[in-house]
């Protein structure tokens, strides 16, 4: 959502509605978007719920989805399955970070490792992680094992490859400056390369968080009896699509929260990198 609230920078004079919107403050524009969302939900409720233009099973109106959410909570389905999903996600993401960061550092700082390990990593990263799902099902059974494995496989490559790219693309002029002022190889690594790679690391973590969620959903949809993905499948198969939509909304909220959380940690750890007008 990087340019969500960014100021317009077109050179053309803005007129009419666009000009009005362009003149709004970031807060004003955020308010506008919220208003739009509310209007859209109202319209959806009216068209599907009241007029019945579309089959409500396929596109349950907002109030039905809210009802579905309440049902999920009352049955205890939500607490039980959300806990499983959150646990898998956190475990998988932690493993991906624990393996991806050291490997990324190694790839970034050693040319041989980069040249040999890099192509292998890029090749595996290019393939959709979902392809590994049937193998993991055979290896780990039907528990949360395959889910965690798929989360790890989904999140590890962006973390590793971004970090390595960050170290590799550090401005040569910063390295020169460090050498001029007496920096040893160790100094260059510690004082230049590592801090310079921090924004890349966080870009990788954000990307990893999004892909981890996708990996989790895919794994839970295709081979798990517990977790939010399983809830979606079960409710959809029994035509309780209001519950499916409620579960999907929760996953979306989780995904957005996690990327925002990574952004928050970045702003806290790397305040120098704060960009004006950029949300993430």
């Amino acid at each position: 959502m990087s340019s969500l609230f960014a100021a317009p920078s077109g050179l053309r004079a803005q007129r009419g509605v666009a000009g009005f919107i362009a003149g709004l403050s970031p807060r004003g524009r955020a308010l506008l978007i919220v208003t739009e969302v509310v209007l859209l939900l109202l319209l959806w409720q009216f068209l599907v719920g009241t007029l019945g233009l579309v089959n409500a099973v396929f596109f349950p109106p907002p109030l039905d989805v809210a009802q579905g959410f309440v049902e999920l909570v009352q049955q205890g389905t939500l607490a039980q399955n959300a806990a499983v999903s959150v646990q898998s996600w956190l475990t998988g993401f932690a493993i991906a970070v624990a393996i991806g960061v050291p490997l990324g550092l190694l790839m970034g700082s050693s040319v041989p490792v980069d040249r040999v390990f890099g192509p292998i990593a890029w090749t595996l990263y290019a393939a959709p992680a979902v392809a590994y799902q049937p193998l993991t099902k055979a290896w780990f059974g039907f528990g949360t094992g395959p889910v965690i494995f798929l989360i790890v496989i989904s999140a590890i490559f962006p973390i590793m490859l971004n970090l390595a790219a960050g170290i590799r693309t550090t401005s040569p002029s910063l390295i020169r400056a460090a050498r001029v002022y007496g920096g040893s190889r160790m100094d260059v690594y510690r004082k230049i390369l590592l801090p310079a790679a921090v924004p890349f690391l966080f870009a990788g973590l954000r990307q990893g968080a999004v892909l981890a969620t996708i990996g989790m959903v895919v794994a839970e949809l295709t081979g798990s009896s517990v977790g939010m993905g399983a809830v979606i499948i079960r409710s959809a198969n029994t035509y309780n699509t209001d519950q499916s939509f409620a579960a999907i909304m929760l996953i979306v909220i989780w995904s957005v929260s996690m990327t925002q959380l990574v952004g928050l940690v970045e702003r806290w750890l790397a305040p120098w990198n704060r960009r004006k007008g950029a949300a993430s």
Binding site: S171, S173, R179, V180, Y181, G182, D187, I192, P271
Partner: protein
């Protein structure tokens, strides 16, 4: 080996027959960036190096800084051959090369910290002094991205002088600064540095800067980079305040340098050596 008694008369920096070639692996050929450069610079001298873009003047500076090893020839500073960067030489970079994750104060401290200079108890004072000297008092905790280009280069300057090096190497330090700030900073650099008596090599492609700052101007040509001419400037200092720009000697020098560079540019384009 000359010892210190003899070097009083000998130049501080001696550049002897420096040639730098780069191998281009892709085509299997090599590119000569500079060829046979000889240059003596005395202690306390302010030398401006003038030349068109890509004429290798930065390469010569990098050799003196110890960042580039010459293919042939050598550089000695105070009688010792340069094999790498050292605390006696500081560099001000054209693109500032400030660490974006450090505040102004910490960026200036960077000039000290890797030379174990932080062990001496007064380093905070030295950093603060350098910041005040370049006129950045009050901006100690700002990050580089919050500063204008001119202010960022002031940080670069403070970082260079904080460790009190004998030699300042300045690679088109005002090249990326806007025109107005450029003039102001040029005059400040003249006052600041001539007062400290440092030896300076200042690279520029501005004729005006070369004349107003230099005790001596070294004119470079390109393809390959080599020294074309050396001119001593004997205008009284501080030049900007004394209205050097209207001095007939200034005007004469300016026209002469203009002609030299113009001829060089025409010759180069006739030679058809585009790159």
């Amino acid at each position: 080996m000359p010892d210190s008694a003899e070097t009083a008369a000998a130049p501080l920096i001696e550049v002897r027959g420096v040639t730098v070639r780069y191998d281009i692996a892709r085509t299997g050929t090599s590119l000569t960036a500079v060829e046979g450069v000889d240059l003596d610079i005395a202690e306390g001298e302010f030398v401006t190096v003038l030349g068109p873009s890509g004429c290798g003047k930065t390469t010569v500076m990098n050799v003196i800084a110890g960042l580039v090893k010459p293919t042939e020839g050598s550089v000695t500073v105070d009688g010792r051959t340069v094999t790498g960067p050292g605390p006696d030489r500081a560099v001000v970079f054209q693109d500032y090369a400030l660490l974006p994750w450090r505040s102004v104060f910490d960026n200036v401290r960077f000039g000290l910290e890797m030379q174990q200079s932080l062990n001496s108890g007064d380093w905070r004072e030295r950093v603060q002094n350098a910041i005040e000297l370049v006129g950045l008092a009050g901006f100690e905790q700002s990050y580089p991205r919050e500063l204008s280009g001119g202010m960022q280069q002031r940080v670069g300057l403070a970082r260079a002088i904080v460790a009190e090096p004998r030699i300042l190497l300045m690679d088109e330090p005002l090249g990326a600064v806007d025109a107005l700030t450029r003039e102001v900073m040029r005059d400040e650099i003249e006052k600041l540095i001539t007062a400290t008596g440092k030896t300076v090599i200042f690279i520029t492609h501005s004729i005006e800067e070369a004349i107003l700052l230099g005790d001596r101007i070294v004119v470079f040509k390109s393809h390959p980079g080599a020294i074309l001419e050396e001119i001593t400037v004997d205008l009284p200092r501080p030049r900007s305040e004394r209205g050097a720009q209207s001095d007939p000697r200034y005007l004469e020098l300016r026209d002469h340098l203009w002609d030299v560079l113009q001829n060089e540019a025409t010759a180069a384009s006739r030679g058809g050596k585009g790159s």
